[in-house]
């Protein structure tokens, strides 16, 4: 994700990449080279030596807190990947540290910038389905690969509930308001076996119900679905049906070559990651609160943690505001 952020800062007119930090210096150097930037493996050193305004944090989740606190203490504006932290306490501490330091803080719940989800939210707001009753979302593909296989360590990633469907939780909260209660079943215990799956029921303060599916056990490509049913209409979306490009090649090898890959390209300026970073830069320049606050991220985290608790206890869990 660091490479993605760097590409967008570089492409946007008001920002450029000055430095890249990674505990593996050679990885930092590789990325820094593309932007003629400096490479570091020590955050304090980078903050001391470089004249930078913003720090973008794309480490595995357990390291978010230390990075945010360090950057805030140095007076840097901070963009942090989701989930904000592994615990509510950490998330609140990070948010508070940024407020005290007077720096802008935004968390990358990027789903809000995906055009299909942004459009669905706008339609809900305009009353296109009337009063929303039942929402269904689905997200997932195969088990994610990452450096050090950190997704397989549920103490680091929290499995798909904390890492992936928190996107849907944030979007749902953004669109429908606060969640009061969750009930869920899932396989977070199997993360070590490179398997995870969850089926979640959310109840909202406004009475609506949502069903959220997350899977890292789907071998046929990454899929997302959304359905919003109200008393005056219905919105449905799935990424396969709306993909304008579908490719399938006759391979020289086995059956694996015949997998069809749908593709849904967007103009550069509509890229969701470009849009979220552009919004962050705009907020800093206009000295306004960034559109996705630390508090928003903590509320989404609370839902994920309640889901994990429900999976572990087998009971519904109240979500307290």
């Amino acid at each position: 994700m660091g490479g993605v952020h760097a590409g967008h800062y570089d492409a946007l007119p008001d920002s450029r990449v000055m430095a890249v930090l990674d505990i593996r210096l050679e990885a930092a150097e590789r990325l820094a080279e593309s932007y003629s930037a400096s490479a570091y493996d020590n955050m304090e050193k980078m903050l001391a030596e470089e004249d930078i305004d913003i720090v973008s944090i794309t480490t595995p989740t357990p390291y978010h807190k230390k990075c945010v606190l360090t950057a805030a203490a140095a007076g840097k504006h901070i963009f942090c990947e989701k989930p904000i932290a592994m615990t509510v306490e950490d998330g609140l501490e990070m948010t508070e540290a940024c407020r005290k330091a007077g720096v802008a803080f935004m968390v990358g719940h990027v789903l809000r910038y995906f055009p299909e989800y942004a459009a669905a939210k706008a339609m809900i707001d305009k009353g296109a389905v009337g009063k929303v009753g039942m929402v269904r979302t689905s997200r997932g593909g195969s088990f994610p690969q990452a450096s050090g296989d950190w997704y397989a360590d549920k103490s680091k990633s929290g499995g798909l509930v904390l890492d992936m469907i928190i996107h849907d939780f944030d979007w749902l909260r953004w669109s429908l308001g606060d969640v009061i209660r969750v009930y869920a079943k899932g396989l977070v215990e199997k993360a070590g076996e490179h398997k995870d799956y969850a089926l979640v029921t959310l109840r909202f303060a406004n009475g609506a119900i949502a069903h959220v599916e997350g899977t890292w056990m789907r071998p046929d490509g990454f899929k997302t679905c959304l359905e919003v049913a109200g008393d005056k209409g219905l919105i449905t979306f799935n990424n396969d049906d709306s993909a304008p490009i579908k490719l399938a090649f006759t391979g020289s090898g086995g059956a694996g070559n015949a997998v069809a890959v749908p593709n849904s390209p967007l103009a550069e300026e509509d890229d969701p990651y470009r849009l979220e970073i552009a919004d962050f830069l705009k907020a800093i320049k206009s000295e306004e609160e960034p559109p996705i606050s630390g508090e928003d991220a903590v509320e989404a985290l609370k839902i994920s943690l309640a889901v994990l608790e429900s999976i572990s206890t087998g009971q519904p869990v109240e979500v307290l505001r």
Binding site: L199, T201, M217, G230, G233
Partner: protein, 328 residues
């Protein structure tokens, strides 16, 4: 010529009666003896549509030396209808859900056993070729070990007695839980042990619930969710769906029982609709039941099967009341 199997229809209150009668009509070995219905207009229209006789009273129909009857009354009358049919010695195909409550369902099962008549629950989805094919895939272990199922059985709000819980037993949950609950037992051989549900009246100005979302835990560790909502708007291109997606350690399988269709866009009334061309699951159900009537075998889908599926819906209602997962 071989003696024809004599079948009567008890009540056309449930809209599936028309489809079952049409299927029976198509079978040369069946004689559709008559339609009984206390609603004179409804009964006469049905009898005329299916080229058979109308009987004002159930007794007079049951005196016609019937081999079997199809019961499509309001759910709460299934017991009463079953008592009459069993007393007359007719085998029974009873519309789902088997009843509005477990006591009545158990009475139906017991009295049919005592009267030595065979009681079958109408679960036509088992006769969808796609549903049956995916069952084979699951049972052959091609998905590895099944861990979870995501299912929907949604529809438009049916109105009429379906939304009067005294007659139907509830709303969307009792109407749309039992098909998938039955299929999951049939697929996996597992029994539901616990149900959690959220529900509400979201889409229509009715008293009964029209939104239901169940989470069902099974005795073999599988968990499933089932959306039973009447959440399809009036403008939706079809009546609803029966969809199940199985996630296993070696793969996933989805089966959408009623997706085989033509998309139809019409300027006549500015509408878009589906024209289904899949195999008629009711025909499969009726063909199998008539085969049962003509033989000594047990029904493919018993009264107990109907009760097991009903119990999942009843546990969902208890969960809604208690706010907790409830044992089945």
């Amino acid at each position: 010529m071989m003696k024809r199997i004599r079948v009567g229809m008890m009540s056309f209150a449930h809209m599936h009666a028309g489809s079952y009668a049409s299927c029976l009509e198509k079978m040369p070995q069946v004689e559709l003896v008559g339609v009984a219905d206390e609603d004179d207009a409804r009964g006469r229209a049905a009898a005329e549509a299916h080229n058979t006789d109308y009987y004002k009273s159930y007794d007079s129909l049951l005196k016609q030396n019937l081999d079997g009857v199809v019961i499509c009354s309001e759910n709460y009358r299934h017991l009463e209808m079953t008592e009459m049919a069993a007393a007359a010695g007719a085998d029974i195909l009873c519309e789902k859900p088997i009843s509005t409550n477990a006591d009545d369902a158990r009475k139906m099962i017991d009295l049919c056993r005592q009267a030595k008549v065979r009681l079958q629950t109408a679960f036509p989805c088992r006769f969808s070729p796609a549903v049956a094919q995916v069952r084979d895939i699951v049972r052959e272990g091609r998905l590895g070990e099944i861990v979870a199922v995501k299912a929907t059985n949604r529809g438009r709000m049916p109105g009429g007695w379906f939304v009067d819980s005294r007659l139907s037993g509830g709303g969307a949950i009792i109407d749309h839980t039992v098909h998938v609950a039955d299929l999951l037992r049939w697929y996996t051989g597992a029994e539901a042990i616990e149900v959690y549900a959220e529900a509400g009246t979201m889409f229509n100005d009715i008293e009964a619930e029209d939104a239901g979302l169940l989470t069902i835990s099974y005795d073999n560790g599988i968990f499933a969710t089932l959306d039973t909502s009447w959440s399809r708007p009036k403008s939706f291109p079809t009546w609803g769906d029966v969809y199940m997606e199985f996630t296993g350690t070696e793969g996933v399988a989805g089966v959408d029982a009623f997706i085989q269709r033509l998309d139809h866009y019409s300027d006549e009334n500015m509408s878009y609709g589906w024209a289904g061309w899949g195999s008629n699951t009711d025909m499969g159900l009726i063909r199998d039941w008539v085969d049962c009537l003509g033989s000594d075998r047990e029904p493919s889908i018993t009264g107990e099967d109907g009760l097991r599926a009903l119990e999942v819906a009843l546990a969902a209602y208890r969960s809604i009341a208690s706010g907790k997962p409830e044992c089945v």
